[in-house]
């Protein structure tokens, strides 16, 4: 074994989870290899992308917001129920999200991921790009390194952190994660459209570096389970749909056709008008929630970020990068502890799960574990957004005739398509999923 092929920790995947972990470990003086299959960190990575709770990074980089390549900070959140030709929005502005470290920021992943990995390199991590890790190396039951797809590609370390993304072959090969079903995975497709700084400020009522995160349900994805998003970057929009794979296959509509359909909705078309498409991208998202979270550790191995399905897709919440960073930090702390005690057993590394259980990562996923099923409810996906728009139309319609009171107008519209019993049951489910 060559001396340079022996590391203290090997991190696979230079996304937010992997790079955060590598940064902490390198700072602590460990020899860290950070392996990335893309030509550069972020080359293979796609998300909306709003990075919520970026303040997590302040622990590592106290004034990160001065130098991180953020696009805009989010001061406006919009949730829209789309009917066929109408839209009902909840539109929330707050200046309270406009102070560092900010509540959420938009990022472009090739830029942001490259920057964060660069911080790990500055701290002393060895970044190895253009390299695929095909397998783990074992000594008995214990993981002792990785096999890269290249000549002489064995690298050794007593701890490996698999942060290799939604298609984590390592988590599966290690027997921690199972095969996925098409019901628990989603496909996101996205376009980045250039509009220019001025147009974005004017069109979305933003000032300076303020930004908007806007999500859509209902007609956004036609009869297919899922939703759509529109986020403001500095001079571009990130616009996309996220759909359940099983539903997409059953309905036989291609994702890019669905994206076009969303772009042409009368409530969306004026927002994207004259946008020049710069790039089209796609990514699979483990949206299954709590039931998809695998075993997180075995002797010599920890799994972090998307590889561990740590994605919080719970109705009004759509978060992943913060879960990735938090799990990367927890994995790094666990690996540090293992090094201090020179003990890399499954028992020691199980401290990783305990750390995540004490943080928002597993608490949020567990608390909102009923939400994915609720969000995939047929009526919530298709019927209620349309009915909500119809009810609003009735309420706001002026015809020079006597009006009914609002309750009666709304209830009549809803009950034209759903029984009172179903309404109550769905209301109760919504409550269980999100409110209490």
């Amino acid at each position: 074994m060559h001396a340079q092929q022996q590391f203290d920790v090997i991190v696979v995947g230079a996304g937010p989870a992997g790079s955060s972990a590598a940064l902490v470990l390198a700072r602590a003086g460990l020899r860290v290899a950070l392996i990335e299959r893309g030509e550069y960190p972020g080359a293979k990575n796609v998300s909306g992308a709003v990075f919520y709770a970026p303040g997590l990074l302040a622990e590592l980089l106290p004034t990160f917001w001065d130098e991180a390549p953020f696009e805009r900070y989010i001061t406006r959140r919009v949730l829209t129920f789309l009917g066929r030709e109408s839209a009902f929005s909840l539109d929330f502005h707050t200046r309270h999200f406009a102070l560092p470290p900010y509540n959420g920021v938009t990022v472009l992943r090739p830029k942001f991921d490259r920057w964060l990995a660069g911080k790990a390199v500055e701290a002393g991590a060895l970044l190895i790009t253009s390299t695929v890790v095909d397998d783990l190396l074992y000594e008995g039951e214990r993981v002792i390194g990785v096999q890269c797809r290249r000549d002489d590609g064995a690298l050794y370390a007593p701890v490996v952190i698999a942060a290799d993304g939604a298609n984590s072959f390592l988590a599966k090969k290690a027997g921690l994660q199972r095969e996925f079903s098409a019901e628990e995975m989603s496909l996101g497709v996205k376009e980045v459209l250039r509009l220019g700084v001025r147009t974005i400020e004017e069109r979305f009522h933003l000032t300076g570096d303020e930004g908007m995160a806007s999500e859509y349900v209902g007609e956004a994805t036609g009869p297919i389970k899922g939703g759509a998003f529109l986020y403001t970057n500095r001079e571009t929009l990130s616009l996309g749909i996220i759909v359940q794979i099983a539903s997409l296959a059953q309905q036989r509509i291609r994702p890019y056709e669905l994206l076009d359909r969303f772009k042409q909705h009368p409530a969306v078309a004026p927002l994207v008008r004259d946008g020049v498409t710069l790039e089209y991208s796609a990514h699979m998202i483990p949206e299954g929630g709590w039931q998809l979270v695998p075993r997180l550790a075995r002797a010599g191995l920890l799994v972090a970020g998307d590889a561990a399905a740590l994605v919080f897709a719970a109705g009004i919440f759509l978060e992943g990068m913060n879960f990735a960073v938090a799990s990367g930090l927890a994995a790094a702390e666990t690996a540090l502890e293992a090094h201090r005690n020179s003990d890399f057993s499954a028992a020691t590394l199980s401290g990783y799960r305990k750390r995540l259980e004490q943080s928002f990562v597993l608490q949020d996923l567990r608390r909102f574990r009923l939400t994915p099923a609720f969000v995939n409810n047929e009526r919530l996906q298709n019927l209620y957004p349309e009915l909500l728009c119809q009810a609003a139309e009735q309420v706001f319609r002026s015809e020079g005739r006597p009006r009914k009171k609002l309750g009666s107008t709304i209830l009549t519209t809803l009950r034209s398509k759903v029984s009172l019993w179903t309404l109550l049951r769905d209301g109760w489910q919504a409550g269980r999923a999100l409110f209490f």
Binding site: P110, T131, L248, A249, R254, Y256, Q264, P266, T277, M284
Partner: protein, 100 residues
């Protein structure tokens, strides 16, 4: 009520969209399809889920390409017959996103 939203769809061909994406195409395919398993598959989920439109049934036979794969992995999750073998392309090859 007019059916504006779904009836007046103008779609941009997927080929045009893929022209915006940078690919470094490896000679060695990273997708393998056991096409004999595709015969008689009525659902053909791969045809409908692939965001790059890489799968097509022509004359009852499965045709596919890997060159413009966006590397999402959706095809092999969607295929109920487990006919699709999918792995990461060699390091540095395949898609590189720049603006996303």
């Amino acid at each position: 009520m007019q059916e504006l939203a779904s009836e007046s769809v103008v779609t941009q061909p997927i080929e045009e969209r893929l022209e915006l994406v940078r690919f470094k195409v490896d000679k060695r395919p990273h997708i393998r399809v056991h096409t004999e398993a595709c015969r008689g598959c009525d659902l053909t989920p791969c045809v409908y889920v692939c965001p790059a439109g890489l799968f097509e049934i022509l004359g009852g036979e499965m045709h596919f390409s890997y060159e413009h794969c966006l590397e999402c992995g959706t095809c092999y999750v969607a295929c109920e017959r487990k006919a699709i073998e999918w792995e990461y392309p060699r390091g540095g090859w395949g898609v590189s996103f720049r603006a996303s």
